[in-house]
């Protein structure tokens, strides 16, 4: 009987305690924000959409190798002597034409492992997080600045150069035809 009355009392009392708490919260300001109108200020280290600054990229492929999900795809063509590719902002001399620099952002896991090995700090994560698309193919970001014709031209240039070099080298040492085959590795 004592337990019975205690249960009744406990039931009512704890409910009232809870009601007091929720009532107090009725008048506290909301902690949520009206998202598209108001946006949270993101911290400066935030990891969102990847961006590649192609002016600085030297095509070293280190980001691609660091990526655990293989979402970065890079193809390069060696430059021929006499072509000036410019230098990166931290003073490295570029030696490769980047003919293809694709990031499949749908695959990206935002782990930032690609950012650290980059010698020129040209790949980094931005604070852009609204990049929803209707088409999955739109997630394939192409960063290469060269047009298709240009990169084809570069490839031809390099092959021509290789062939000339091979021809020049063939006179004293004529036994290396294999080298001409691995063109743009």
């Amino acid at each position: 009987m004592k337990q019975y009355l205690k249960n009744t009392f406990d039931g009512i009392y704890t409910v009232l305690v809870g009601m007091k708490i929720t009532f107090k919260h009725l008048f506290t300001p909301a902690v949520t924000i009206q998202y598209p109108d108001v946006k949270v200020k993101l911290p400066d280290r935030v990891r969102n959409r990847l961006y590649v600054n192609m002016d600085d990229c030297i095509g070293c492929d280190q980001c691609s190798r660091a990526c655990p999900v293989s979402c970065i795809e890079i193809e390069t063509v060696k430059s021929i002597p006499g072509e000036d590719l410019g230098i990166t902002s931290n003073g490295k001399k570029k030696a490769l034409w980047v003919t293809k620099f694709n990031i499949d952002i749908a695959k990206c896991c935002y782990c930032q492992l690609c950012v650290f090995p980059c010698p020129t700090e040209c790949i980094y994560m931005t604070d852009v997080y609204e990049f929803a698309e209707y088409e999955r193919s739109n997630f394939l970001y192409k960063f290469a600045t060269l047009t298709d014709e240009e990169s084809a031209q570069k490839k031809i240039n390099y092959e021509k150069f290789q062939a000339e070099k091979a021809a020049a080298a063939a006179k004293p040492k004529p036994e290396t035809p294999a080298q001409t085959e691995n063109k743009s590795e």
């Binding site: 019975y4 249960n7 009744t8 039931g11 009512i12 409910v15 809870g18 009601m19 708490i21 929720t22 009532f23 919260h25 009725l26 008048f27 506290t28 300001p29 909301a30 902690v31 949520t32 009206q34």
Partner: protein
């Protein structure tokens, strides 16, 4: 109301239909408002904002939702029993709608002046039970069936404490008519039944604590009858997905929702009438004091709705505070706690009223 309209129009059928339209309007408007209120109350209690975009503080949100529901495809599961599946929401809705027929919103605005009003309300809610069982069974879904079983067991059980409290009040007031009960608690809040009624004397003061208990028991048991937290086990979304209306969509689902919110106000109205003076003003009428008699019914309507909404707010407040009970604990609360207390209360109120 009917008499007034009959005098105005002179056609029985038209007047009757018009009388029926009034509660329908009220239930629809209240459901729209109630759903919006529920969202805002829950949001602010949880430190959120709730709907904010459609209109001022999202007050058009339910209207927009209603539009959406009306446009939705009406999906019926292949294995569902189509006839019963389609009838069930109508039955549930008409059950809760029919309860409004006897609720006096003010001394002039009351659908039907039946003498056995409160008894009628108790009875008509059994239509809802049948509808719920129909919905749960016809959907041919195990969650629906479990939900329907729970709902019916719950509603039938909780009718007993409700009926006991109503019985004690009827004993005290000597009438079953909701209008007469309201009329008896006139002039100021001190005359409300929760404060012992309008008869001044020793019994009035003796009654006060038991009236509080009675009001509490009635509130708890009506909470269970309309399936609100902590007694929302028929729809317990974390266990049974959505209980007996798991399979419903579109406007049929909307009718269950309308019925639920309609019921919420209906049971609040019953509590208001039995304990909180019905449509009577707690502080006297403005219309009387300035001599404008026609203002009084409007004031009464205002007070009735204000009181009803306060209780609805308490229901929501509880919902966003408490966890839900388990099905056997629900029965324990009813059979081992509420019914004995209600019985004791009935006997004590009976003895006091004989003094």
């Amino acid at each position: 109301m009917y008499q007034f309209l009959y005098d105005l129009i002179g056609n029985e059928i038209l007047a009757g239909l018009l009388v029926a339209v009034v509660p329908l309007t009220i239930i629809l408007v209240f459901a729209l408002f109630g759903i919006w209120l529920e969202r805002k109350v829950s949001a602010h209690m949880q430190d959120r904002l709730g709907p904010m975009r459609t209109g001022w503080h999202g007050w058009l949100q339910t209207v927009a939702d209603l539009m959406k529901m009306l446009q939705k495809e009406d999906i019926i599961a292949t294995d569902a029993d189509k006839t019963l599946y389609n009838i069930a929401p109508v039955l549930v809705f008409s059950g809760s709608f029919a309860a409004y027929a006897v609720i006096p919103f003010s001394s002039k605005l009351l659908g039907s002046e039946v003498e056995i009003g409160i008894f009628y309300v108790l009875a008509i809610s059994s239509l809802v039970v049948a509808g719920i069982l129909m919905a749960g069974w016809s959907a041919n879904n195990k969650y629906s069936l479990l939900g329907a079983m729970r709902a019916v067991a719950q509603i039938i059980s909780y009718e007993i404490p409700t009926a006991l409290i109503v019985l004690s009040m009827v004993m005290l007031m000597g009438t079953l008519s909701l209008d007469k009960i309201s009329q008896m608690q006139t002039s100021s809040f001190w005359n409300w039944n929760i404060f012992g009624g309008a008869v001044f004397g020793l019994s009035k003061f003796l009654l006060i604590p038991f009236m509080f208990i009675a009001a509490l028991i009635l509130f708890i048991s009506t909470l269970a009858e309309v399936n609100r937290v902590p007694f929302d086990i028929p729809e317990a979304e974390s266990e049974l997905v959505a209980g007996y209306f798991t399979e419903y969509c579109g406007m049929k689902w909307g009718m269950f929702m309308l019925a639920e919110y309609g019921n919420m106000f209906a049971v609040s109205a019953i509590i208001v009438i039995l304990f909180f003076g019905g449509y009577q003003s707690p502080i006297g009428y403005f219309g009387n004091s300035i001599g404008v008699q026609w203002l009084v019914p409007f004031e009464q309507g205002f007070w009735f709705i204000a009181k009803g909404l306060t209780l609805v707010f308490v229901q929501m407040w509880l919902r966003w505070t408490l966890p839900r009970l388990r099905v056997d604990q629900l029965m324990t609360v009813c059979w081992k706690y509420l019914i004995p207390y209600a019985f004791l209360n009935l006997i004590i109120i009976g003895i006091i009223s004989l003094l």
